[in-house]
Amino acid sequence: MLSNTGNFLLFINIFLSSLTIYSSLKCLKIKNNYIFKNIYQISLLQSTLVLICFFTLTAAFIVSDFSLITVYQNSHSLKPLFYKISGTWGNHEGSLLLWVIILTIFSFLFLILNKNHPKNYRLYTLIIQNLLILGFLLFIIFNSNPFSSIIPIPKEGLGLNPILQDPALAIHPPLLYIGFVGSSIYFSAAMASMISNYSGSLFAQSIKSWVLISWIFQTLGILVGSIWAYYELGWGGFWFWDPVENASLLPWFAMTALLHSLLVLEKRNTLYFWTIILCLMTFTLSVTGTFLVRSGILNSVHTFANDPSRGIYILIFLSLMIFASIYFLFSKYKPTNDLINSNSKETFVLINNWFMMFYLITVLLGTLYPIFTDAISNNKISVGPPFYNSVIIPVVIVFLIFMAIGPQAKWIKNKFSNLRSTLLILGGAIIINFAIVYFLKSYSLISNLILISSLFLIMSSIFDFFKKSRLSFPRIISHLSFGFLILFIGLNHNFSVEKDFNLKLGEAKKIDDYEFALLDLKLSQENNYKAVVGKLEVNNSNTMKRKILYPEIRIYDNPQTLTYEASIQTSFLGDHYLTMSNIDRSEYYNIKFQHKPLMIWIWISVLLLSFGGFLSLFKNAKNN
């Protein structure tokens, strides 16, 4: 029954999308600045029905209707209700439905919230957005239909991968999708802007809030994913430069560049075509990321579901998008008079874009290069953290310094009267770094420079905070927290302690300042898994602190999977992180212990970073 309802709603949505395009084209032919009322109505109906369609699938998950293949493959009647619901988007088919929801709702909101912009521009945006919606709806129906039924109806579902049964991972996809898919609306708007010749600062104003929204959610989505990887994958890292993580980072770089170049377009009416390119690039990268992840081309820790036939469809879709983008760019390109003074805010915005493109190219290349070498020379190579660290980190140092100086420059032309204070701040940063080196531990040259430059950015931002008007608060907060982010990552990296050893029950071991003892092992039976819980005592002879940690080895029932749960004790100064795993044919357990200083501050910095985005969104809404 639910299967039929869902399918019916999908077809209705295809019809409504086509109808929107048809009515918009008809409306374009009439020369006035008035959009047919029925276009609004269709758009509203479309958004409502797509939501109902999604709720139908959620209902199927809640009542465990295993006549749907998707539910059968990804759910289980004994699963907790919360994970039944999150299971709706925890799989390929359901998540595509989420895509379409965001595409549709953003389309509707853009239509009703931009009433003071010209009709043609709004209608073309609507048409292009609906073409995207159609593309995804067709993909859902022909290739990834969440409402496909299965006969005979299975009695029980296969269950959801246990490492996906996690609160952070339940909210991670929706957040990330609002970022990813939200960028579609300015893809459409950019195309519409070229077609209807609506350029300049008014265009910038019409998309600014949308760029901010997608940027905020992208940032939060990445954060939640990272926190999840930190405690669930059990290696104590939070960023692995894994292809799937890279796929979420690529649009983020493009969005960040876009946020900055939009400022120039808005205030100074230059860099129009570059801004358009960034708009188009952001969504294209989002779809590219989806293609790479869903087609299973990449080898990743995050690969949970993939199927090559999907890849071909997304690839065709992607090629069409890129082809259309390039076609319009070439046919509409006019050389513009972009006047840029060497010492002005514009230049610094360009410098931001310059670095963002560098990061983007590096990460894109690192992600795709193994695929190419494999195809061309049959030589499989790996590109992992050591590559990214050695290419990117040195550049970050320069970037942070520009990031500190840039905001002080004025529009059009700037006087460098603030050289003295800049030097003073730099001196301060160096002295603090010196103190850290002196009192704690010395570290490599690069680490010194990273710490100095991030401290420089932090202090410059704080300085700004007391000097500037309230209007630049959002920017100061974001820049400040980015400085903190790099600082805490740097400190965390340099002062992390890592111990890897084997222990058996009742045994104790002393390594450097630490003494470890495996006091107890307990079996426990939970709702959907069995677990071996260890009780470990960690003594630090230096600080005289004693910690008890309880790592687990879990055996999940449906599907049968073995996972290692880290035991983490978080404090403001640092995390104690411990995992325990069994060693085959032995009574010993392998223990990995880490002390990770200031861990929680890394998360807080990112939270603050996106909070800066919220403030900016607020400010923007108030101004317009």
Partner: protein, 122 residues
Amino acid sequence: MRFKILLIIFFLNLNINLHANELVEESKIHKNLRCLVCQGQSIADSNSDFALTLKMVVKDLIDQGKAEEEIYSFLSDKYGDWILYKPKINQGNFLLWGLPYLALIIGGVIIVFLIRKSSKKA
């Protein structure tokens, strides 16, 4: 004068620990080796039999007095380049290592070019 003092502090700062890590770091090597039987994990993060064996191999090689680079080339001869997370800088990978910096240079040139063009007009 003040500037000079800053410079001196700056270089003092950098010189402190330039030659600390002469010992071959075992854990650093582990992090650069892919666990071939896992999904995108390094052997440092894995407890599979493969990872455990490889860790022993690495320890043996270090005990034999092999340098970090020698260990990598030994392992990549045996298992292929797939095992190294940091690709070698060689003919096949020059694009990977070179293009980012090339892009950085080109970007810089474009910005300088834009500014020059503008200053002529103004």
